[in-house]
Amino acid sequence: MSAYDVYEMFKGTIDTMGILSISWQMLLMWAIAGFFMYLAIVKNFEPLLLLPIGFGIFIVNFPMVPLMGYTQAGHPELIRFFYHYGLEWEIIPCVIFLGLGALTDFGPLIANPKMLLVGAGAQLGVFVTFTGCVMAGFTLKEAASVGIIGGADGPTTIYLTQKLAPQLLGANALAAYSYMAMVPLIQPPIMRMMTSDAERLIKMRQMRAVSQTEKIFYPLVSSVVICLLVPAVAPLMGMFMLGNLFKESGVVSRLTETSGNALMNIVTIFLGVSVGCTMHSDVFLNPKPLFIFSLGLVDFAVCTMGGIATVKVMNLFLKDKINPLIGNAGVSAVPMSARVSHTIGQQYDKRNYLLMHAMGPNLAGVMGSAAAAGLFIAMFGG
C-alpha cells in the first residue's frame, strides 16, 4: 500500500464526517435550538412541544445527517418519514385533537353557551394579522397561515399551515407554541388597559350544573354544525369531538385513557421532532420567520383585545353582566388564559372566582379558531 493510498483512505474517511462542513448558520441554529430547549426545561414553557421542537432544530442542523432527505433507494429517511406520513398527510394534528377531546370538559361552555361569541370575537387578531402580512408582502396563503397563530391552537395552526404554506410550518409552529406559553406575560397588561375598576369587580352568577346527557350530546351537535358549515375542518374537529364523546360516554375508558395519554404522547413526540427538523438553517435564516415571530405577538395581543371587546359589547345587551376579564380567555391557550383571567380577577377581589367562567370562552376559542381555519381553507378552494 503506497502513501498515496493511505492518504486517500484518510481523506475518504474524513469526507464522510460532517466536521469540515459546519457553517456559521448551523451554529446559529444550535443557539436558537438551545434557547427553545432552555425555555422548555428551565422556564417550563410548553415543554411537551418546545423540547422536541428545540431538539429537532438542533439535530437537523448538522452537515450530512440523514434525517430529512431520501436514501439512495428513494426511501424517506427517519424524520422525513414522520413528516411525510404525520404532517404532509395531516394525520398528527387530527390525532392530537382526538387526545385533546378526550381530556376536555365542555361543561363550562355548555352551561353558558353565549361564551361562544367571546370565542368568535377573540379571532379578531387572526384577520388583522392576515392584512398585516399581505401588506408586508406575504402571499395570501402564507398570510392566512401566519394569522391563525393568534387562535393559540397548535394543531389547528399546523393543520392550516401544512395545507396552505408548508414552507412556513416550522416558524409558525414555533411562534404559536412560544406565545401560548407566554400568555401570562402578554395578556395581563392588555386586560388591565381595557377594563375599568368597576368592570373587574363584576361577580358572575354561579353556573348551572350540566348533566351528563348534555355533555354526550354536545360533541354530536358540534360535529353536525361544523361539518355542515365548515366541512374543511371536519377531520380536525371530528377527531376532537370523537375524543370528547369517548370521555363523556363513560363506557370506553380504555379508549379515553389511550387517546388522552399514550396516543397523544406518541404523536406529540413525532410532531415536535418533525416540526423542529423542518427548520434547517437554509429555510429558517431569512427575514420571514423573524417577521412571523413579531407578527405572532401582535396577533395574540389583538386577539386578546378582540375577546375583551366582545364581552364589553355583549354587556351592553345583557342584564347579568359578564366580567370582561374573561374575554382574554377567548384566546384558546387552554387552560392557561383561563388561569390568567382568574389570577388577574383575584388581584382585585379575592372572592371573585373566574376560572370556571373563563373556561367557557377558552373552549369556545378552540371552536372559533377551527372555524376561522376552515373559512381560510374554503377561501383558497383547498
Binding site: V126, T131, V134, L140, S211, V221, V225, F380
Partner: protein, 154 residues
Amino acid sequence: MKKLIYMLVALFLLSPMAAMAEDFLGAPLPPGGNVVSKTDAKMEVAYTMTYADAIAFYKEQFKGSKDYAFRDRGDATYIEEYSNKPWHSVLITKTGEGVTITASKDSYTWIAGTLALRFFAVFLVLIALYIPLQILSVVMGKIQAKKAAAKAAA
C-alpha cells in the same frame, strides 16, 4: 420595397396595441384580443376564441403553480391569484362571439372585504352552534325540573 416599409411601419404602430392587449399589471392575457375597456382597476378584452380554448390557455399558464384557484361559475370561470402579484383575478365570460376576459387589479378593498366577511362568518358558525346548545339547555332544564317535581311528589 415601399410595401415592405409600409408593412414594417404598420407592425411597429400596431405592436403597442398588441402589447396593451396582452399586459395588464402582468396578468397573462391571450394575444389577439380587442380591448373593450381599460381603467386603473381592470381591463376587459374581447376574443373570438372559444371558451374551452381560453380555459386551456390559462390552465397552461398556471400549470404547476399552487397559487391560483379556478372557480367555475356556470357561464364564466373566475381565476384568483394568491401570490401577491399586482393583479388579483381573471374572469373569463362566454359571449355570443367568443369570450370576454377581464383582468382585475389587486386591491386592499377586496382583501379587507373578504376578511371582514369571514370574521363575521366565524360569528355565524358559533351562533349556529349556540342555538342548538341553548335549546338543549332549555329542554334538559325542563326534564330535570319535571324529575325533581316527581321526586318531591313521591
